[in-house]
C-alpha cells in the first residue's frame, strides 16, 4: 500500500495500478457514505461511479492541500447532495412537531424522563440499531443531511455550510433541531417501561 504522496504521483502519471489501489482502498468507505446519504442502492452505486470518474478527470487539479481521502469524501458527498436535490419533488415536511414543547411559563411539557440504560447496552440489541437508523430516515431531509454530515461524517460546520449553500449559523440550528427531533422519536422506545405511552 502506497502513502498519499506516492499514490497521488501514480494517479497523476496515469498509472493503472494507482487508480485500482485508490478504488480498492477507499471505495468501500465511500460506498457506505453514499448509501447513508441516498438510502437507495442503485443511486449509491451510480453516485460512487460518478465520483470516481470525476476524481480521474480532475486529479491533475488536486493541489494536495488536504488528504486524498478528504478530497474524495468531499466529491462523493457533493455528488450525493446533487442527486438528492434532483430527487426532491415535494415540499419539505416541518420539523416543529418533533421539537420540545413548553408551557406559557417556559417549563417543558411533558417533563423529560431519564432513559433506561446506556448507548452501549442499547446497541447490543440489533433492533435498536435498526430503530435509530429508521428514526434518522424519518427526519425531514434538510435536517437529516446536516445530521449525517456533521455527526456521522464528522465534517466541520464551515464545510457543511459550503456544501449546502447555507450559513454556518443555519447549519448549527439545523443540527440542533435534528438532534432534538431524533431524541423525540427515540424517547418512547428508550424511556423506562413504566413511562411508555405516557409521553
Amino acid at each position: 500500500m502506497r502513502g498519499d504522496d506516492q499514490l497521488l504521483a501514480g494517479l497523476r502519471a496515469g498509472d493503472d495500478t494507482a487508480f485500482e489501489e485508490l478504488v480498492r482502498s477507499h471505495g468501500g468507505r465511500m460506498l457506505a457514505v453514499a448509501r447513508r446519504l441516498l438510502r437507495h442502492e442503485e443511486d449509491a452505486r451510480d453516485a460512487l461511479q460518478e465520483a470516481f470518474a470525476s476524481v480521474f478527470r480532475s486529479v491533475g487539479d488536486f493541489e494536495g492541500s488536504s488528504q486524498l481521502s478528504t478530497w474524495l469524501h468531499r466529491i462523493v458527498v457533493n455528488g450525493c447532495l446533487m442527486r438528492l436535490r434532483r430527487r426532491k419533488v415535494r415540499e419539505e415536511e416541518s420539523i416543529e412537531d418533533l421539537l420540545p414543547r413548553f408551557r406559557e411559563d417556559g417549563h417543558q411539557v411533558p417533563a423529560s424522563i431519564v432513559w433506561d440504560g446506556s448507548p452501549t447496552e442499547w446497541l447490543e440489541r440489533e433492533e435498536i440499531c435498526g430503530l435509530v437508523r429508521q428514526c434518522i430516515d424519518q427526519l425531514p431531509e434538510g435536517y437529516r443531511n446536516v445530521l449525517l454530515l456533521r455527526d456521522i461524517e464528522e465534517m466541520d460546520t464551515r464545510a457543511v455550510s459550503d456544501l449546502l449553500g447555507i450559513s454556518e449559523n443555519a447549519v448549527k440550528v439545523r443540527l440542533h433541531r435534528a438532534r432534538q427531533a431524533l431524541r423525540t422519536l427515540l424517547d418512547p422506545h428508550l424511556r423506562p417501561q413504566a413511562h411508555r405511552g405516557a409521553a
Binding site: D16, F19, E20, V23, R24, G27, G28, R29, L31, A32, R35, R36, R45, L48, Q49, F52, A53, F56, P100, F102, D105, G106, H107, Q108, A111, S112, I113, V114, W115, S118, P119, W122, L123, I128, C129, V132, R133, I136, L147, L148, D151, I152, K172, L175, H176, R179, Q180, L182, R183, L186, D187, L190
Partner: protein, 86 residues
C-alpha cells in the same frame, strides 16, 4: 442570541433546550452559562433532557458506524475502472 435582560421570569427550560447545543459547545457568554447552570441545578426535566440529548448523538454515530463499509463489491470495482478506460 439570547438576551437575559429581556427575560422577566429568568431562564427556564425553553431557553436551556433552545440554546442547548451552544451551551454544550461552550459558545454562550459566562453570565448566560451561569444562569443556565442555576436553572439546571434545580430542574430534573432539563437534567434528563440533556442526558438523553447526549445519548441521542452517541447513538446516531454508533448505530450508523455499525453499518460501516464492507469491501467494495468486485463488480462495482470493475465498473469504476472500466469507465476510466472508456
Amino acid at each position: 442570541m439570547i438576551d437575559l435582560s429581556k427575560l422577566d421570569r429568568g431562564v427556564m427550560c425553553r431557553e436551556v433546550l433552545t440554546f442547548l447545543s451552544a451551551y454544550l459547545d461552550g459558545e454562550l457568554p459566562p453570565d448566560v452559562v451561569a444562569a443556565f447552570d442555576e436553572h439546571i441545578a434545580h430542574c430534573e426535566s432539563c437534567v434528563a433532557y440533556i442526558q438523553s440529548y447526549k445519548q441521542t448523538v452517541e447513538l446516531g454515530k454508533r448505530a450508523l458506524a455499525e453499518e460501516e463499509e464492507a469491501a467494495l463489491p468486485e463488480d462495482l470495482l470493475r465498473a469504476v475502472l472500466a469507465a476510466r478506460r472508456g
